[in-house]
């Protein structure tokens, strides 16, 4: 250990004083572990305890990397991979059993552990936003005043809906377009229509068959908040996903 420490000290790396590192970061092991863990997600509701354990190991491994304890990290990454592979393997061998467990097992108590690389930044374990859950909450996306471009931060919601529609190919959805109370009723009907259509087009771009997407505009008729202020108007400028079948 000592000679390694000395070696580190003379090196021109910026990591200096508190470093108790051992060799180089285990890059390959980390990549393999993270990929395996991502693959294991599909079986997480099937083998929940192991999945959470793998998640915790991954977290520890990343922490050890930060602490430059590369040997320890390598060990942990290997353990993550082993556990994750086992989960994925179990899922592949017992898909029916895992699907059934989807609902009952899921809960939202494990927030704030690891942020996955999913663009939607939603907690994948929460059934209300789990695209594998047939009863997933349908999303609402918002727009700027007089605009029909979906707000950037709401785009992941459309991706989530697209994933859900991929998972449940027999389902047909309806997108309801709405406007805030400002402006004339007829123009707002057109604006609501444009908004619904915009969302529909995004789903089609994501690979969903347009035949499975109905749209309807309600203009300014169905506000979620009847108040006349910016906050209410923001809430009311929206497109809502609804179940058609």
């Amino acid at each position: 250990m000592k000679q390694f420490f000395n070696f580190c000290a003379v090196a021109v790396f910026i990591f200096t004083v508190l470093c108790s590192c051992a060799g180089n970061p285990p890059k390959d092991e980390r990549e393999l572990a993270e990929k395996a863990f991502a693959d294991a997600e599909i079986g997480k509701d099937c083998d929940r305890e192991d999945y959470l354990a793998a998640e915790e190991l991954l977290r520890q491994a990343r922490e050890e990397i930060n602490n430059k304890n590369y040997d320890k990290a390598k060990e942990l990454f290997n353990a993550v991979k082993e556990k994750s592979d086992a989960i994925a393997k179990y899922y592949r061998e017992h898909p029916d059993e895992c699907m059934k467990k989807d609902n009952g097992n899921a809960n939202g108590e494990d927030d704030g552990t690891i942020k996955e690389e999913n663009v939607d930044s939603t907690d994948a374990a929460d059934p209300s936003v789990d695209p594998k859950n047939p009863d997933m909450d349908f999303q609402v996306v918002h727009f700027e005043y007089n605009q029909y471009t979906v707000l950037e931060e709401d785009l992941p919601k459309i991706d989530l809906m697209a994933q859900w529609m991929m998972n449940f190919p027999e389902r047909v959805v309806r997108i309801e377009g709405h406007a805030d109370e400002r402006g004339s009723n007829d123009y707002n009907l057109s604006l609501g229509e444009k908004r619904a259509l915009e969302v529909k087009n995004k789903l089609i771009q994501a690979g969903i068959d347009g035949e499975r997407i109905k749209i309807v505009s309600y203009g300014e008729e169905l506000p979620v908040d009847p108040a006349s202020n910016e906050e209410a108007w923001f809430k009311n400028r929206r497109a809502e996903f609804k179940r058609e079948n």
């Binding site: 007089n146 007829d186 009907l189 505009s217």
Partner: protein, 433 residues
Amino acid sequence: MSVHFRLITLSAVIFTCFNLLAQLQVEVKDGAVAEYNMAVSPLAVLDGADAAKASEISSAVEKVLDITGYFKILDKKSFLEKPETAFKAVNFKAWLDVGANGLIKGTIKGKDEVELELAFFDVAKGKTLIQKKYSSKAALAKKSAYRFAAEVIKLLTGEEMNFMFSKIAFVEKTGEKYSLVVTNFDGSGRKELYSTSKTILLPEWSADGSKIFFTSHEKNNPNLYSYDMKSSQIKTVSAYEGLNVSASAYPDNKTIALCLSKDGNSEIYSLDTTTGELKRLTVNAEIDAAPSVSPNGKEIVFVSGRSGNPQIYKMSLEDLNKVERLTEQGNYNQDPEYSPDGTKVAFSGRDEKYQFDLFIIDLSSRQISRITQNQGKNESPTFSPDSKVIGFSSNRSGKSRLFLSNISGTRQIAVYSGQGEVLMPSWSPAETN
């Protein structure tokens, strides 16, 4: 005593009115607020006539004169002379003392069969200008009074007005319930034609006043329907996927312009309601909506977002390439409505204070005049058949109500006090019954 009128611009009409008023001296002061003070005496109730009917009739006369903006209606409480005084025995001094320029007096006789006698006097000259006797069933007595009021207006201003003989259709929203309602021009005589918890939107009369077009989400798609005033039947007019909204009647009484989104965007089409033949009128990637057909059927005005924000455009129906933008000021102009005389277009626009107000474009001078200001949200302008009065919805006093305004915007009154919110009014053609 001279007679004053508030007049924004001198027009040919006013010069005509000089001639008509040989016996009245009209003093025109540019922009000056000076009104003609009219005293409408309560009617003398004779021969078992209904006192309530009598007061209904005198208020009807007052309301008609009032909404033109040309008259100041004097307060009855100040009147010194009794209603029973005979036409021949009028003490003009007593009316001069209360500030009257003109006086309307009358008698009503009979309960079911009503005889109504009305007279209009020039107070300063002590002269009878109009005297008329009307006999009818009681239900029509108010209409007789309207005829009389129209004659008084004609005599004093030279303007032919018939708004008092027409109706207004609108949507009344009470909680979740939408009702299609028709009232007389003054908000009286409410008749509910249809109601639903789904929407009722954008009612619009057919050219002959026999039908009202409207849109509803009854079948979960905004389809266009027509309500037949005689048979009360509702028929589906247009049910393409997407929008079927904003019907506006051509004068041929069978074609309508409307907004459909079946081709992937809000566009304006014409539809022959007898054959179902459809013709697309606009082609633009942005929203085109809210058509209003000119009274000669040769043009439409509509809203388009083609410049980046909603503006009012005019398009020739004989040459669809002839499109002209009518509004340059403001960045949110909507809801255009052609006046039945073809000279003006009313619209609602968002002003610098982000309020929605009503404006009128004079099509020959292209001048834009303002009707409302600092009075809440004012929307859905609709012209009376004589183009003299504008109906609209305004939330200036809390909930959205039906308002009438004269063309210059100097006189605005709320005329309906139902339970719900009044939205999207549409004025009928003349004489629908």
